[in-house]
């Protein structure tokens, strides 16, 4: 409107100016169109979302409401209701990820009660059917010393909080669950017999007092008004041979308070009496619980040695229940734990049980009484730490065609016969395809072969718990899984060492992590297509690793070797035979706490590999300065910058880009410093300090530029800053000459700018495409659950400067980065708690594949410059055929009429 009112000035010059500014607007709007967004009918066509809840901490069956559900509270601070029949999430509430969201208690009746946080606590009541919050009150404990050992439970609409102070007393406080009103002050029960080995099986608190030989088993109902201590000699229950006896409470919301002694004997507390059950624990690793059934309470045990088994006994008689017993060889559940169980009687007087089992690999299974798995959830995927996109192999037919062209030798006749053979094969497959088409369409799932556009890939996901998944990127279906309990996934890296392009060799993927206990390197090599271990299989190193890199040159079998730098600065290479290939290899190690970066050159001296320290940079200005590295961003190892620019030698292609740096470090105090370090030479190429700011551990580095995010404390807003490296006005090197960081004697000119980001980001990544010809967009995952695509032109320093030499007009100057709703990749499919964004190139140059991890998984594909190499999916084939047909008809008819007219004219 402002522009229009300016326009009404009568003079001509003003009009021209106004037109000029309008021009800006036109450009601006055309750029907005650039931000690709999908049509409404494309929902779910290119993308999928999977919702997870995390490893289940507490669970309880909701039997009251009509739609049967399981209410779960998880280690990821999520409260959710799962459909009993399908296992899908009915409703879900995501709490804070910090300790303030920790769920301490879940209690399900008609209403769901949760206690979350850690002093102050929040007590909330939820409607179990809809998930709507009913009430909420806060509770702050005065004495913070022993809060860590506090226990919570609900009893007769009273919330009971118990804190044992070991060796002296137990503090018990009761609150009204609905409003927090205190029923009298907290009572202190004298209990000098308490120690760390005590267990709570609400409302009884049980301890072993004294040493094993003369030990007493003491139990106390902490909620009763009269203090009645149950005391029994320990020798009544166990033969006292071991030096240490441990108690453990029963799992899975046991209906009768009880515990196991030494994982062997089960003791329940009934009528204020300890009662040893006639049933022993079958397996020391078994999970034991007591469930209610029509025939009285049952003791249910589940364990897995080679096969997953369960057995149930009657509490009163000790006899085995025949209906509730199974042993399953197929199901591999490491360390199963009964999370909750429910038994009812069906109409035909049969025992119907549902048992929710959680395993050490974070998977959750709902199992029927006969051992049939109703549904499973892979909750490990709520915590993905590393992702790799892997290409699929070509189909057999395509492979045959390719091999035909590979064979150069042989006479013309041999080539001709091969040609005929392959064509017969093709014909056969077409006929087979026709036959299949006539039959049932059972084989609806697309086979695992590469598609024409290279959009079909396998996503390999490494999860925090040590489970590795292979997932189909188009459907999101899990193809294979591999669980390695010893894998500590902190700082885990995944390398594709051989793609599926080299038949007959299989694709080869390596996961490098740490051993859970020793911290030594642990290397898992597998075939990403099938999930089978290959090559080095599971390799345990006897040393801790500092840095791992992939050799850029493949060996004879097209396998890229793995170079491992260990703590003693020794170098290993896998396989050893690839050692002579090492050349021009550089590595760097950034120490987070001291803010120092070491550079190494890896050299081959004819016998073995050695790591030579080449440079050292103190980013924080020397040790003890209190600086630390918040994040280090490096270029994706396979990234092309118009030419393979990797390792230390960069090719410069025509343009004016130079000084591509491999490492950005953000150093944190009140000052945020972003430093670009050349990873080969250690030279600081550019640096930028921001005062009164807090660093966010987010930085993106591709091509010749770096973008990083920080929180500006002065203005209380998030800002995104960019640094771009240019050669400057003059060309340094001849066009096409290789750039080497070791010979660069000029500093690149750096253009930098910071923009306001009106949102709270939690992850950032840049799109990647096959040949890096397409525009780059920055993908930002926001804490609100949105994933937003920001074209790089909005972050450039030259934004608003005016058209450049090539006539590209940047968007108008503005202090902020626009985040319109159309730029949201995941529209209303919110990703809860996004953590990382991974991108991978597709076979199509225009398209980049995107996976957002966090509590949920979201996959989509983006085309930063629109799909210029693909027909639009709404391309109207009918219209074009009709137009073509009509034109042909029109041509011939006019020809006919024209000839007739000519004839008539001639007759005249």
């Amino acid at each position: 409107m402002g522009v229009l009112s300016n326009c009404v000035k009568p003079n001509f010059l003003g009009l021209l100016k106004c037109l000029n500014s309008l021009n800006w607007f036109i450009v601006f709007f055309s750029l907005i169109n650039l931000s690709v967004c999908i049509y409404e009918d494309q929902i779910g066509k290119f993308d999928w979302r999977q919702t997870y809840v995390g490893r289940i901490k507490f669970s309880q069956f909701d039997t009251v409401s009509t739609a049967k559900k399981i209410i779960v509270a998880t280690e990821e601070n999520v409260l959710a209701a799962l459909n009993l029949k399908t296992g899908q999430v009915v409703w879900r509430h995501v709490f804070e990820s910090a300790s303030t969201g920790n769920i301490q208690l879940l209690h399900v009746t008609e209403k769901v009660v949760t206690v979350s946080g850690s002093n102050p606590y929040l007590v909330r009541g939820w409607d179990s059917a809809t998930g709507v919050l009913l009430w909420e009150w806060s509770l702050t404990l005065q004495n913070e010393d022993h809060v860590d050992f506090s226990e919570w439970w609900v009893q007769n609409n009273m919330l009971v909080h118990m804190v044992p102070i070991f060796g002296t007393h137990i503090e018990v406080t009761m609150y009204n669950v609905f409003n927090g009103q205190n029923k009298g002050a907290s009572s202190k029960l004298p209990a000098p017999w308490t120690n760390e080995g005590c267990v709570l099986s609400a409302p009884y608190y049980t301890c072993i007092s004294g040493d094993v030989s003369s030990g007493l088993l003491l139990s106390l109902d902490v909620t009763s008004d009269a203090v009645q201590l149950i005391s029994r000699p320990l020798s009544e229950y166990v033969s006292l041979q071991s030096s240490y006896v441990n108690l453990s409470p029963l799992d899975g919301n046991s209906v009768i308070p009880g515990f196991t002694i030494d994982n062997r004997k089960i003791v329940i507390i009934k009528n204020n009496q300890l009662e040893l059950l006639k049933v022993d624990v079958t397996d020391p690793s078994a999970s034991v619980t007591v469930i209610e059934s029509v025939n009285g309470p049952l003791v249910l045990q589940a364990w897995s040695d080679n096969d997953f088994s369960a057995v149930a006994h009657s509490v009163s008689t000790g006899s085995e229940v025949k209906e509730l017993q199974w042993s399953d060889r197929e199901l591999k559940l490491p360390d199963p734990e009964i999370s909750s169980a429910l038994c009812t009687k069906s109409s035909r007087e049969q025992l119907v049980c549902r048992i929710l089992v959680t395993a050490a690999d974070d998977s959750t299974h709902l199992i029927q009484q006969d051992g049939r798995v109703v549904w499973s959830r892979e909750e490990a995927l709520s915590n993905v730490v590393a992702v790799e996109f892997v290409e699929l192999p070509v189909s057999d037919l395509d492979a045959a065609i390719e091999s035909e062209f590979d064979q150069k030798e042989g006479s013309i006749w041999a080539a001709f016969s091969r040609r005929l053979q392959t064509q017969i094969q093709q014909l056969q497959t077409i006929i087979q395809g026709l036959h299949k088409g006539e039959g049932m369409e059972e084989d609806a799932t697309s086979p695992l072969v590469r598609d024409y556009f290279g959009l079909h890939k396998i996503i390999v996901l490494v999860t925090e718990v040590g489970k590795i998944f292979g997932m189909d990127n188009l459907s999101g279906a899990i193809l294979w899984k591999y669980y390695e309990p010893n894998l500590d996934t902190e700082g885990v890296v995944v390398f594709t060492r051989r793609t599926a392009r080299h038949p007959p060799n299989d694709a080869y993927l390596t996961v490098v992590g740490k051993h859970e206990e020793s911290g030594n390197g642990l290397i898992i090599s597998l075939n990403p297509i099938t999930g089978a271990l290959i090559g080095e299989r599971l390799l345990q190193l006897d040393v801790q690793l500092l840095q791992v890199a992939l050799l850029h040159k493949p060996d004879n079998e097209k396998l890229h070797a793995l170079i491992l730098l260990d703590k003693d600065e020794n170098v290993q290479i896998l396989p050893i035979s690839a050692a002579p290939l090492v050349e021009n290899m550089y590595m760097y190690v950034a120490e987070k706490t001291t803010a120092t970066v070491h550079g190494y050159a890896i050299l081959y001296d004819g016998k073995s590999l050695i790591a030579q320290k080449t440079w050292l940079t103190h980013l924080g200005g020397g040790p003890g300065s209190g600086h630390r590295i918040v994040t280090a961003a490096r270029k994706a190892p396979g990234e092309r910058v118009h030419s393979p620019g990797r390792g230390e030698i960069f090719d410069i292609d025509g343009g004016a880009l130079v000084g591509r740096v491999n490492n950005t470090s953000l150093v944190h105090t009140d000052v945020v410093v972003a430093t670009c370090v050349d990873a080969a030479s250690g030279a600081v190429v550019a640096a930028q300090a921001h005062r009164r700011a807090r660093a966010l551990a987010l930085a993106v580095h591709t091509e010749h530029y770096v973008a990083y995010l920080y929180y500006n404390d002065k203005h209380r807003r998030t800002e995104i800053a960019t640094m771009e490296l240019y050669e400057g006005k003059q060309r340094w090197l001849a066009a096409g000459a290789a750039f080497s960081s070791l010979e660069s004697w000029r500093a690149p000119s750096v253009s930098r700018h910071a923009y306001v980001l009106p949102a709270a980001p939690s992850a950032a990544a840049a799109t990647t495409t096959e040949r890096s010809l397409t525009d780059k967009h920055i993908l930002l995952a926001l804490s609100s659950g949105a994933v937003v695509e920001v074209p790089w032109v909005y972050l450039e320093a030259r934004r608003g400067v005016g058209p450049d030499l090539e006539g590209v007009v940047p968007p108008p100057p503005a202090p902020d980065v626009p985040l319109p709703a159309e730029a949201r990749l995941n529209y209303n499919r919110t990703v809860a708690r996004p953590e990382r964004v991974y991108t991978a190139p597709a076979g199509l140059e225009s398209t980049s594949l995107v996976l957002v991890t966090g509590l949920d998984l979201f996959y989509t594909r983006v085309a930063p410059s629109k799909t210029f190499d693909l027909l639009k999916d709404d391309f109207d084939y009918y219209l074009i055929t009709i137009v073509l047909g009509a034109l042909i008809v029109a041509t011939y008819s006019t020809k006919y009429f024209a000839s007739r007219k000519m004839l008539k004219l001639a007759w005249k």
């Binding site: 709490f95 998930g131 919050l133 909420e136 529209y827 499919r829």
Partner: protein, 224 residues
Amino acid sequence: MKQLISIFIAICTFCNVLCALNPLEEEVGNGRYVIEGKVFPPEEQDLGPWQVDTRIHINGGEYIGFIREDGTFVIHNVPSGSYVVEILHPDYMYEPIRVEINSKGKYRARKVNYIQTSQVIQVPYPLRLKALSKYRYFQMREQWRLTDFLFNPMVIMMVLPLLFIMILPKMMNDPETKEDFKQISNLAKMSEMPEMSEMFTTLFNRGAAAKPSTSKTKQIKKRQ
């Protein structure tokens, strides 16, 4: 409007009374405060339980609040400071609000302005938040319209010559225009521009003569 204001005041005073009645809670929390407000559902109420889908993020998820059946929310245990309160709904947009709590426990709520951070536009506290609009995530599919078809440059290119062909001969019959046309053609002759087609034909003919290999093409032409 007046009614609204009076309701505001009533709510404010009610809250104050509540705070006065319950001073213990705030003291207990060692300088911890609550942020409260009410969220109004979007106009179209076909969403089912919108309360479940709506979350309240304080400072990008540092604190998270949930909405009760009636739309009210309370975020407990917030120390004094400045907070951005965002109401997040997958389909509806709400305006974020900055709430500042000073060390004495005084509240001030204002609109969030990331660019001019010193600008203060106060809004009432406890917060009352209404859905601004529905998010527009999707592009509209282009629909087939006759006008679009007619004004398509391709179509115009085809239709206009057709019109010329049809209308020009008719116009030629008119004697005046004939005169005009003659004048125009005379003018064109005055300039004596070499004709384009002639130029090309001479050019190509020369080229054909120079290359003996084009004899094949001639043969083909003959066959045709």
